[in-house]
């Protein structure tokens, strides 16, 4: 067995081991922990990058390594690393828990990495649970006055029910096809076209990923968890875990291709409701993270647009947008994290005077939010347009129209945030000092968001190559 094939997973397993040993230390040393974590994160990024072009199958074909999975693994590693960069102070996590924090962050990353490579239903399920459980633990790790555990328990409850439903759906799929391997299931599904079990089993099975992606109606956890969890954890949930969910949905949705219209129609409906609901409710939010939660619900709808086309163009767009979403959403969260140094939940009003307090952060915020809103020249815009293009090519006119109108609605609340940060001022608030690495991070993020927005070709070609391995 080629170690390189399983390289990233092994590396992170090792990292988890390192963190595990760190948890055993009697005296917590957050600074040292952080430095180790950063080093490991950077190393992980390197390893994942090196393994980018691997392809092969492992574990009796339960595990497939291809460009598609490796791209998402890289995205996960990137997300992991990025989240680590804003962990230089973890005010909301008790000092002695910080090593555990890194540990669970690593394990959830491992879970997601396994997830994106899995091509077997049970592996998918277990990997999903691994990543979820780590997150369930991470959410109530926060030092809080109750909303942390409240968020944790709600997350867990909704997650448990979703995964129960998913498992039930998987059992039907298993029953209908007699196999848990996607490769075996796929050819058998057309034979089931006359009976509803394949379609509905698939729909039930998708529930778990809808939950991860916070698609309506599995979205209820998102606002609470975003608000209740520590900022860094929220960041991870909002960035990396979405990418993993998108990856899996792309893999699974292919199964629905045989069902044609009725399957996609269900997705179209969910997509439309997701984006409309997310955007409408986001309008009235006051808490910034909660607002972003609703925005993520809306974005789940956008992801679905690409997925439900079940065509190459749509998949390319979805991959592109998933990567884009990771970066642009992270940009915003980074700003939150830097502004709320003490780890509090940031109200939108508290952004007042950001342009004065830290022009760079305010610029990042604008870039990030405009990207989320789909304003050019940003990856958000390009991604959204690619999504719409692919959907339109399949004739989903109304979907595109509603999506485009939704873009307008979303702009409203993003602009409100920008308004607060740019045009209101609170003289009581002093300037925000940002460290040099964060400063460079800012520049890099802005450059990525704008640069790949204008020149998306490389990413698109990469995604195209990746999609070829899935379809």
């Amino acid at each position: 067995m080629n170690v390189m094939l399983f390289g990233p997973e092994l590396y992170y397993l090792g990292a988890a081991l390192v963190f595990f040993f760190l948890t055993l230390k009697r005296k917590p040393e957050p600074k040292a922990d952080y430095q180790i974590a950063m080093a490991l994160g950077l190393g992980g990024l390197l390893v994942t990058g090196l393994c980018l072009c691997q392809h092969g199958e492992l574990f009796f074909k339960a595990y497939r390594v291809d460009l598609f999975s490796q791209i998402f693994k890289f995205a996960l590693a990137l997300g992991f690393f990025l989240v680590l960069t804003i962990c230089h102070n973890l005010p909301q996590i008790a000092e002695r828990d910080q090593a555990e924090f890194y540990l669970f962050l690593t394990t959830t990353t491992i879970g997601m990495m396994l997830l994106v490579s899995s091509v077997e239903l049970l592996t998918i399920y277990v990997a999903l649970e691994l990543s979820s459980y780590s997150l369930y633990i991470l959410v109530p790790l926060r030092r809080g006055d109750g909303i942390d555990v409240e968020a944790g328990i709600k997350y867990l409850l909704i997650g448990a029910v979703s995964s129960g439903v998913m498992l039930f759906g998987l059992s039907y799929l298993f029953g209908a096809t007699g196999s848990t391997y996607l490769a075996d299931i796929l050819p058998k599904l057309p034979q089931l076209a006359s009976s509803p079990i394949g379609l509905l089993g698939l729909l039930l099975a998708l529930a778990g990923f809808f939950f991860k992606l916070s698609v309506f109606p599995f979205h209820f956890w998102a606002p609470d968890v975003y608000q209740g969890a520590a900022n860094q954890v929220t960041t991870f949930i909002a960035t990396a875990s979405k990418a993993a969910a998108v990856a899996l949905l792309l893999r699974l949705a292919i199964l629905g291709a045989g069902y044609g219209y009725s399957f996609t129609k269900a997705l179209v409906i969910l997509s439309i409701i997701s984006m409309t609901l997310g955007n409408l409710v986001a309008i009235i939010q006051r808490d910034f993270k909660r607002l972003l939660a609703y925005s993520s619900i809306a974005h789940a709808g956008y992801f679905l647009i690409g997925i439900l086309t079940l065509k190459e163009a749509g998949y390319i767009a979805a991959i592109y947008y998933a990567l884009a979403y990771l970066v642009m959403n992270f940009t915003v969260f980074m700003v939150i994290n830097e502004v709320a140094k003490d780890g509090r939940d940031l109200k939108i009003q508290e952004l007042a005077g950001l342009w004065r307090r830290s022009p760079l952060l305010s610029l990042s915020l604008i870039v990030g939010l405009f990207a989320l809103a789909g304003v050019p020249p940003s990856i958000g815009f390009t991604g959204k347009l690619l999504l719409f293009t692919s959907a339109m090519s399949q004739g989903y006119f109304w979907l595109v129209l509603i999506g485009a109108v939704n873009g307008t609605i979303s702009l409203y609340y993003y602009l409100r945030v920008i308004y607060c940060s740019y045009f209101t001022d609170d003289p009581n608030l002093g300037p925000i000092t940002i460290s040099t690495p964060i400063r460079f991070l800012n520049y890099a993020l802005i450059a990525i968001v704008l640069g790949f927005g204008v020149f998306p070709d490389r990413i698109v070609e990469l995604a195209k190559a990746a999609v070829k391995t899935v379809l």
């Binding site: 163009a313 390319i316 342009w355 604008i366 405009f370 304003v375 050019p376 020249p377 815009f381 390009t382 347009l385 690619l386 719409f388 293009t389 959907a391 339109m392 090519s393 399949q394 004739g395 006119f397 595109v400 129209l401 999506g403 485009a404 109108v405 939704n406 873009g407 307008t408 702009l411 409203y412 602009l415 920008i418 308004y419 740019y422 045009f423 204008v454 020149f455 998306p456 070709d457 698109v460 070609e461 195209k464």
Partner: protein, 477 residues
């Protein structure tokens, strides 16, 4: 041409907020270079050859058929010139800006980059990308440097325009998808014969979407509010150039790609345009804020543009494009004068300003010139434009044409009422100590007037240029 504002923008990013003079100078140079290039293109364009010249092409995303594809032809050369002039004068106009100077010029250069991009792009994707780039900075520009209900105005304007984009995207993508060519290249798409249904739907979407930016009635209400709130140079750019983006896009994308759709909806276009023309002047009559007045006059004048487009004749299109140009310059002049006055007096109420021309004869003269131009006085560029449009309209839509012509009387009343109340009459003693426009600040306004008069006296320079594109354009339909 795209590069120069971008370069300026980059340099500005590096400068410190304190180096105000340098910031201004850099912006001015950037704007000056674009203006120079615009003039160069306008002059160097080979009219006898026609067609697309100065083409640059570069594949962006092969998978989706997106390419950076720019060029100049008779339709956009005037628009480029317009943009060049307005940005140059706009930068000069805002020379005295003190608050957050750097950011201001950054955003305004970003906006201009977008505008140039829209006018030159022959790829729908890039077209739309630049379109949005041109629209969005408005929000920030209005919000930070604006006045009078700026939050409301900025939000309204941005959302309204974005809602327009919400129609444009499906429209564009519809054509993209229906063509099956997997390309956004407009020239290529032009060759496709879309089914009538697609054409009708796409045209309607595009017309409504772009119409919002062109302030087509009844989607115009953002425009007066936005103009009122915006700072001077932004008003200039916005009314002068940005609104043209809308009408230009209707021409460039909607009419170019969906000729049948256009013929189907032409009646509607003409109707909306006519209503806009009549409506604009009447509502403008009741306004007391100078910028509101101008805002509504813009609605009316953009109605003329739209009416010209609706005719679908060579004369109409000539007039329409000419009117875009003329109105752009004229409105820029309007706003720069008003801005100057407002900066000094902090009021735009026409009654309060009464008799202003005694205090600032030169500033007033600028405004009056613009007002006369707005009233369609011969010798100014807009006269010719309106003339062409009206003649063309009467032939195609007699009733609309007559109504629009009749609205001219009210238009004259409208312009003169403002001029009279604001500048004539007894001066308000409150403002007597103000000094008149200094020659330096007068320069941009003089440039604008000179442009207006030049094309008023030699309309052929412009019409001849536009014609080179319009005739093949219509033949292609």
């Amino acid at each position: 041409m795209l590069i120069s504002p971008l370069m300026g923008l980059m340099v500005l990013l590096l400068l410190k907020e304190e180096q105000k003079f340098l910031i201004r100078a850099v912006s001015l140079v950037a704007a000056g270079i674009s203006l120079g290039l615009a003039i160069f293109v306008f002059v160097a364009y080979d009219k006898s050859l026609g067609g697309l010249q100065f083409v640059e092409k570069y594949e962006m995303v092969k998978t989706f058929g997106i390419a950076y594809h720019v060029g100049v032809e008779g339709l956009n050369a005037p628009m480029l010139l317009l943009t060049g002039i307005v940005i140059f004068t706009g930068v000069l106009t805002m020379w005295e800006l003190e608050t957050r100077t750097k950011e201001f010029f950054i955003w305004i250069l970003a906006l201009v980059t977008g505008v140039f991009g829209v006018f030159m792009s022959y790829d729908m994707f890039m077209f739309f990308l630049f379109y949005e780039i041109a629209v969005v900075p408005m929000y920030i520009l209005i919000l930070v440097w604006g006045s009078t209900r700026k939050e409301y105005a900025a939000m309204k304007l941005t959302l309204y325009l974005m809602a327009g984009s919400g129609f444009i995207i499906p429209g564009i993508l519809m054509l993209y998808a229906a063509s099956g060519l997997n390309t956004f290249n407009m020239l290529a798409l032009h060759g496709v014969h879309f089914s009538p249904w697609v054409q009708k739907a796409a045209f309607l979407l595009l017309f409504l979407g772009f119409g919002v930016l062109a302030a087509v009635w009844p989607f115009h209400t953002w425009s007066p509010v936005g103009h009122v709130a915006a700072p001077t140079a932004v008003s200039m750019l916005h009314a002068g150039v940005l609104m043209k983006l809308g009408s230009f896009a209707v021409l460039r994308v909607a009419m170019y790609l969906c000729p049948e759709g256009f013929h189907y909806w032409a009646q509607l276009m003409a109707l909306l345009a006519t209503v806009g023309i009549v409506y604009g002047v009447f509502v403008g009559l009741a306004q007391t804020d100078l910028k509101y007045v101008i805002g509504y006059s813009s609605v009316s004048h953009m109605g003329i543009v739209c009416l010209g487009l609706a005719t679908g004749t060579v004369d109409g299109l000539n007039g329409s494009v000419f009117q875009m140009f003329a109105h752009g310059i004229m409105t820029a002049l309007f706003f720069s004068s008003v801005g100057y006055i407002y900066d000094r007096t902090h009021t735009r109420d026409i009654h309060e300003l009464g008799g202003f021309s005694k205090i600032m004869p030169v500033a007033s003269a600028f405004f009056i010139t613009a007002a006369l131009c707005g009233a369609g006085v011969p010798g100014m560029a807009s006269f010719w434009a309106e003339l062409l449009v009206f003649i063309a309209t009467v032939k195609v839509f007699p009733i609309n044409g007559l109504l629009a012509i009749a609205a001219l009387v009210v238009g004259a009343l409208f312009a003169l009422r403002v001029v009279q109340t604001t500048f004539f009459n007894t001066p308000n003693p409150k403002f007597e100590h103000f000094e008149d426009v200094s020659p330096f600040l007068g320069l941009p306004r003089m440039m604008l007037i000179a442009t207006l008069v030049f094309f008023g006296i030699f309309p052929q320079t412009m019409v001849g240029m536009i014609k080179t594109a319009v005739i093949p354009f219509l033949q292609g339909m």
